[in-house]
Structure formats: structure tokens, C-alpha cells
Symmetry: C2
DNA sequence: GTGGTTACCGAACGATCGTTCACTACTGGC
DNA sequence: GCCAGTAGTGAACGATCGTTCGGTAACCAC
């Protein structure tokens, strides 16, 4: 409690707000109101609005690493871990545990045209994530779980496709079948990449 | 020229602006400045800001229909038309002919949490589009160009995935290979849906 | 050439934006 | 008991937000 307990509260509220109205949609006033502080009170913990937004983005990353990536790393390398990462990713996109969808996806659309430290950080984080996934694909390939001619970057591209389509369908269309469709798409991706689904303990060869 | 020529200019500028900063990022002031009018001047043509945003969205739809959908409808129904629609979609997402990417994708992320006529219209338009694609898949299936057990909605879901992943990779990562990857993903989708690529005149069975 | 309509300007409205400043409680160290 | 630092308030800053209002040129009708 000596170290800023309030700072955490601000970031919590900021994350919730960001997922609803987008990162750029956050306002000093609205954020202050949602943590029951004055606008000036925020400046006791942060230097500027950009500083706040960056901290919020960092907090989101921290949570995703904690809740999604770290547990997945306990799975055995290769297909098992890849599948765990996909599940965690999907789960995060569903409710991260925020009301308004994945912060990274919504902020990507806002930031992709606006240069600056915020965009730089998002790009860096997403590149890291894509790199992590790509290496796992390679591992699976080396272990013979995926066929030798699988292109890791193409594989990751299509993983992104499943997640993004899920996010789009679930949030805009409010399509309840979106999650099933995303899982099915990933399963198909695995199958045509040479993975024998019938040997998979989780799904036993059947869909979703 | 009696009917508002200026109105067109406003919508043109609005479209360009929307693709850069997002629909919600548009400001009465910035829009007025970019068409060399006063803020009050805009109110000679529109009732409110929301009215403007809606008109911009409608203008975007009109263009997409004109440039993308209508030409594609000249293709023979089935795979040919489906392929043309995908190409038009991809082309539009690339540069619609705006500097900042696809307006529908970027505004979807902003609007998915904010109820109102704007969101309603976007959902309606996107549902129409998904419906159009779905019917074309069905036609292709009936003509025997796709296998009988293809699920149109799943097929369209994965088309969305390719386009969204393209948009994400191209705009955020500035990945030059994104277009090729999206085309490849679609080709794969066709292939595993029972389409014999070797009979396709365009690609002759080879990739991209 | 007078009257009405359309297209726009310039100024102002209250609200909110991000930020700064002076000030005040409360805390622990000595 | 004083001092330094932390956490926060409340008021104000200039800028900009979306919107309204009064006025004014230009055009068309008759």
C-alpha cells in the first residue's frame, strides 16, 4: 500500500474503458471519473495522457502474458503448446477479462495510421507474439507433427485470420457460433498442414 | 451543379479522413478545414455530426458496390464470381481508394461497442455482404464447383479471416507479403472445399 | 426589381479537452 | 516537533468540441 495502489486501480479502470471505447476513446475526464479522482489526481501517477495510454497497453500485455502465454508454456513444445496458445488467444479475445473485446485488436485499427510511441509499442508486442507463434510452428514441424513444407509465417497469418474473424463476427454480428467457427478453422489449418487429428487426445479426430 | 456539388466534396474529404483517423476520429472542425469551409458551412448540408458520419458510411458503401460488387456480378455465377468478389474485396481493403485502409474494418472496431444508428447501419451492410457471399458459395456448390458438404457460413467466415488478417498485417506490420498470403489462404480455402484448382484458368493450379 | 431560397461566413454558445498550479492533508524519518 | 515527500483537491488555463444564430451574397421566379 505504500507503492501506488491507486495506480493499479487507474490501470484497471483504464483497461476496462479501453476495451469499450478504444484506447483513443479514453479521456482524462472519463478515466478520472471512473476511478473517483479529479483529473489532476491522475497526474500524481502519470506524466501525460500518452503516458497513461502506454501504461494501459503495457498492463494489458502483462495480463495476457500472465493469463495466456505463461500457462501455455507448460505444455510440451510443438502442437500441444501451439494449441494451448491458440486457445488462450481465443479466450483472451473473448473477454480479456474486459467487457469490450481485445484491446490489441481494437487499438490496432486506431493506431495503424498514427505514428508514435504507442503504435511502436503495439507493433513491437504483436511482432513478438507472431514470432513466438512462428517458432512454435517450426518446433512442431521439426518434431514431425506438421509436414515439412509448412510455412510458419503463412501458418501464423492464418491463425490471425481465425482470431480476427472471430472477434469481428462475435462483436459486430453478435454471432454466437463465431467461437466454434474459429476453432474449426484452426483445426482445418492443422489438418491441411499435415497434422493427423485422429492422434490428438483432445478432439479425438472429431470437429470442435 | 444546382444540386449540392459541395456535399460530394464533403463526403469525399470525409471518406479520406475516416480512413485515416477512423469514423469517430472525424471532427467537425477538421472536416471543415479539409474542404475549406467553416464549421457552420457543413450545417448547410447536414443536420448533425452523426448525420455526416452516416452519410460518409453510405458513400463508402456506394463506392464499394460501384467499384467492387457491380463489376463482379458480370462474372458467371459460382466460383468465377466468388473469386472476383474476393479480389474486389481485397483490392478495396488495400486502398479504397483512400489512404488509410478499409473504412468498414476500422469503423467496426470503433462501433462494435457503441449502439446507435451508425452501428446499426454498419451491421446491416456487413450482414448483406456476408449474405451475398454466402449465396454465391451455395451457387458454386450447386454447380458442382465446390463439394456438397461445404458450409457457406463457415466458408464466408474464413474469407473474412483472410481479408482481416491481410488488413492487420499490411497496415500494422507494414508487411508487403500480406497480399500474397491472403490470396494463398483463399486459394487453400477453395482447394479444401473441393475446388479443383488445376481447372481454373486464372492460376492454372499454381499458387498466387 | 422585389421576394424567396440556397449556400455560406463570422461570432458566439456551453461543454469538455489535456495540462498546470497553488494548496492541503497525511505519512514516516530523525 | 519539524521536515520531506506522497497523494490528492479545486480552480483555472487556452484550445477545441458540436451546435446555433444572424447576416449576406448569389441566384431564380415573376
Amino acid at each position: 500500500m505504500p507503492a501506488s495502489d491507486t495506480r493499479e486501480r487507474i490501470l484497471d479502470a483504464g483497461l476496462a474503458l479501453a476495451s469499450e471505447v478504444g484506447l483513443q476513446g479514453i479521456t482524462i475526464g472519463s478515466l478520472a471519473r471512473s476511478v473517483d479522482l479529479t483529473k489532476a489526481g491522475l497526474y500524481a501517477h502519470f506524466d501525460s495522457k500518452d503516458d497513461i495510454l502506454l501504461a494501459i497497453l503495457r498492463a494489458a500485455v502483462e495480463r495476457f502474458v500472465e493469463d495466456g502465454i505463461r500457462p501455455s508454456l507448460r505444455e510440451t513444445p510443438g502442437i500441444g503448446r501451439l494449441r494451448a496458445l491458440f486457445d488462450a488467444w481465443l479466450e483472451w479475445s473473448k473477454a480479456p477479462p474486459l467487457p469490450g473485446g481485445c484491446v490489441f485488436i481494437s487499438s490496432a485499427a486506431e493506431l495503424d495510421d498514427r505514428p508514435g510511441p504507442l503504435r511502436d509499442y503495439l507493433v513491437e508486442v504483436q511482432a513478438d507474439w507472431a514470432g513466438l507463434l512462428g517458432r512454435e510452428v517450426k518446433t512442431a514441424r521439426e518434431r514431425g507433427e506438421l509436414s515439412g513444407d509448412v510455412d510458419p509465417r503463412q501458418f501464423v497469418f492464418e491463425m490471425y485470420g481465425s482470431i480476427l474473424a472471430f472477434h469481428y463476427h462475435a462483436r459486430l454480428f453478435e454471432d454466437r457460433t463465431a467461437e466454434t467457427r474459429a476453432r474449426w478453422a484452426f483445426q482445418e489449418l492443422l489438418a491441411r498442414s499435415g497434422h493427423d487429428a485422429s492422434t490428438d487426445p483432445k478432439t479425438g479426430g472429431a470437429g470442435a
